[in-house]
């Protein structure tokens, strides 16, 4: 909305500058499509059993459900630059980060469905996804991701390992004191930390103007003497440009950064949200900036894909998701006795 779409000449220049390849951009397209398909599939299954009355407790998926349709570019601009050994700590809205970090869609879906085969054997649920192999974690408590990612970064630095930790958080979460505390800690100890603020303009029903004294969080980060990038969160290339610098800087032991990515969630805060707090027109304006079709357009302009190829990728993504959901749905529920195990290790 606020960044001009690059001309053909500039697009080629950016691609070169950022060392973007055909494979890389197609892979980004694919991952964004997978996330979109995943979130939409979850939305559809979540709705099962919830009509005529929307009852959070019925149907195959219970409880709150926070989806990230529209925010794909933020996850995909950041996570594919990470390795498995790098840590990501996410939020109550974690699926896109998980998928972009490489979490298996089947085990992710199974957790969301509360199945034994889920990432956490059904104990965690959609806001509490953990994948130890991929160093992925999240939390349903707003503001909790900052210090936990800083702790992982502390461990990496402490052992002299070239690993990076990323904290994702919403623009609402960044009002929480843990953001400021973590900035101080990260700069003080020069932690290999990247904080990514997903600024989707709303925290629940609360528009940014009602919760934030300023237009953007990144301005606050500047007060802590660290690089802070404000990027177009609907443009995966723009997110990636900042993320590459920030992650390299962290990996090389040159300290933390903040990235604020302005984006928009197309769906409600959670499923079932009546969205009284925003207008249909606003949503349509943001949809016009859709990160997937925007990248698709660029792939075409670069001559790296035509409509068929993009449609094929989308179809493949839907297949992957369908298989994941099918896996989840045919997986068994955990045995009730499991509830009493595992408090202590």
């Amino acid at each position: 909305m606020w960044k001009p779409e690059p001309s053909d000449v500039d697009l080629r220049y950016l691609v070169e500058q950022d060392q973007l390849t055909e494979d890389g951009l197609l892979q980004a397209y694919r991952t964004m499509c997978t996330i979109r398909a995943f979130e939409e599939a979850i939305a559809e299954r979540y709705a099962v059993g919830k009509t005529p009355r929307f009852d959070m407790a019925s149907g195959p998926i219970r409880g709150e459900m926070h989806l990230a349709v529209g925010q794909e570019a933020v996850a995909v601009g950041v996570c594919p630059l990470l390795e498995a050994k790098d840590a990501v700590v996410s939020t109550h809205r974690p699926h896109h980060h998980a998928l972009a970090k490489g979490v298996d869609p089947g085990r992710l879906a199974a957790e969301i469905f509360g199945r034994q085969t889920g990432l956490c054997q059904g104990k965690g649920g959609h806001m509490h996804l953990f994948d130890r192999e991929l160093n992925f974690a999240c939390s349903g408590i707003v503001g909790a991701s900052f210090p936990q990612a800083a702790g992982a970064a502390f461990a990496f630095r402490h052992r002299g390992e070239p690993r990076v930790a990323v904290a994702f958080a919403g623009e609402g979460a960044a009002n929480h004191g843990t953001f400021a505390e973590t900035l101080n800690a990260a700069v003080l100890w020069q932690l290999p930390l990247v904080i990514v603020i997903e600024d989707n303009l709303y925290a629940d029903s609360t528009p940014k103007w009602a919760g934030l004294a300023q237009p953007h969080q990144f301005q606050r980060a500047l007060g802590y003497n660290l690089p802070a990038y404000l990027v177009d969160g609907m443009d995966v290339m723009d997110v990636r440009r900042a993320a590459r610098r920030a992650i390299e800087q962290a990996r090389q032991g040159r300290g933390p950064s903040v990235i604020e990515a302005v984006c928009y969630r197309y769906r409600g805060h959670f499923e079932g949200d009546a969205e009284e707090y925003r207008t249909r027109e606003e949503l349509e304006r943001w949809r016009a900036l859709d990160p997937i079709s925007r990248l698709g357009g660029r792939l075409r302009r670069l001559g790296w894909a035509d409509g068929d190829r993009l449609a094929r990728i989308e179809a493949e993504a839907r297949d992957v998701v369908a298989a994941a959901v099918a896996f989840a749905e045919r997986s068994p529920l955990p045995d009730p006795g499991e509830a009493l195990t595992g408090v202590f290790g």
């Binding site: 409880g63 509360g114 965690g124 919760g211 509830a339």
Partner: protein
């Protein structure tokens, strides 16, 4: 008289009426405007009183709780929403070290008329960080009054008492009693609730059903599960008394003890974690007051000291259900008066 279904509208009405009566009452918290604090406790208030008196705060529990402390000392009567009780950890210091203590520490100078409205409980798949009850934590800390309404009538009357109280009062509203359309409802379907303001005194338990063979003691949602269990047990010829604690602080020890003395057998049903919480406290009070009259050890049924798991069969396994209450009740009646394991 008009009928209400659920505690959410009842709580919101109490706040509304107190706001109408006293301009010092303001509402603070996350999403208290459009969303009525998510669980409806401030529904409609923004429309009526505007954003100056119904204030959406940033997601900063420590700070808006601390602001309530400062504002109360400066003469306002803040009603603060802690959206889910699970979020207490982000603002606990201002609550337990200041809100609860400043009156005492100041030698009685500083009044602290703050009401905290918070949603509690599980049973709808919201997992370990959004399903807790945790009233035991607050009840342990001096300076808080702890209110757990089970009915719409009580919810309105107790909330009105809370707002008029010069002390910090926490109202724990169970999500499955709110009566909101997006959640299961286990409360009373049709309840007569006076439209005009009234109070229900803090510190009085209610005998919800009389019985001879044993006493079931509970609060909030569990009162209703106990009543259903009592119905079922009645079909088996077991007469269960059901006592609704209503307020954990102040605690109506007399009513609990009197019931225990009458029936000689007590089962405490609690949706909070089992250990070091409500069930232990009530057991202490009852054994102290009804020692000779008890025919069997007091039993309890609570969340067995595990986080609330997400998956439905797991969640069902840990939150006390009507089935489990019946089982425990039968076991209590079957048990010899001799020792049994806890």
């Amino acid at each position: 008289m008009r009928k209400l279904r659920g505690i959410a509208a009842a709580i919101a009405e109490a706040v509304d009426q107190e706001m109408a009566a006293d301009p010092a009452v303001v509402v603070l918290g996350e999403d208290v405007t459009y969303w009525g604090a998510v669980f409806g406790f401030s529904m409609g208030l923004m429309q009526r009183y505007g954003r100056e008196r119904v204030v959406d705060t940033p997601i900063t529990e420590q700070t808006f709780m601390g602001m309530a402390v400062g504002a109360a000392a400066a003469g306002l009567r803040p009603v603060v929403s802690l959206m889910f009780v699970d979020f207490l950890g982000a603002g606990f210091d201002q609550m337990f070290n200041h809100m609860a203590k400043n009156h005492y520490m100041s030698g009685g100078q500083v009044a602290m008329p703050v009401t905290v409205l918070t949603a509690v409980g599980g049973g709808y798949g919201d997992a370990a960080q959004h399903s807790q009850v945790l009233y035991g934590l607050f009840a342990h800390l001096p300076g808080f009054k702890v209110v757990v309404p089970a009915t719409a009538y009580d919810a309105k009357g107790l909330t009105t008492s809370a707002l008029r109280d010069p002390n910090p009062v926490l109202v724990f509203g169970h999500k499955l009693l709110t009566g909101l359309p997006f959640l299961p409802f286990e409360g009373l379907e049709e309840e007569e609730v006076p439209e005009s303001p009234y109070t229900v005194e803090l510190g009085r338990a209610a005998v919800r059903r009389e019985g001879r063979d044993l006493t079931l003691i509970a609060a909030g949602l569990m009162v209703h599960r106990c009543l259903r269990a009592a119905d079922r047990l009645a079909g088996e010829g077991i007469s269960a008394e059901v006592v609704d604690v209503r307020t954990l602080v102040p605690l109506d020890v007399e009513t609990l003890v009197a019931s225990a003395r009458r029936t000689g057998r007590v089962l405490i049903v609690d949706e909070d974690y089992q250990s070091y919480g409500m069930s232990g406290e009530l057991a202490f009070r009852i054994q102290a007051g009804a020692f000779g009259a008890l025919q069997a050890p007091i039993r309890r049924l609570a969340v067995p000291d595990v986080p609330i798991p997400f998956s439905e069969p797991l969640e069902r396994a840990v939150i006390p259900s009507v089935d489990r209450i019946c089982e425990e009740a039968r076991a209590l009646l079957g048990a010899a008066a001799a020792a049994s394991s806890p």
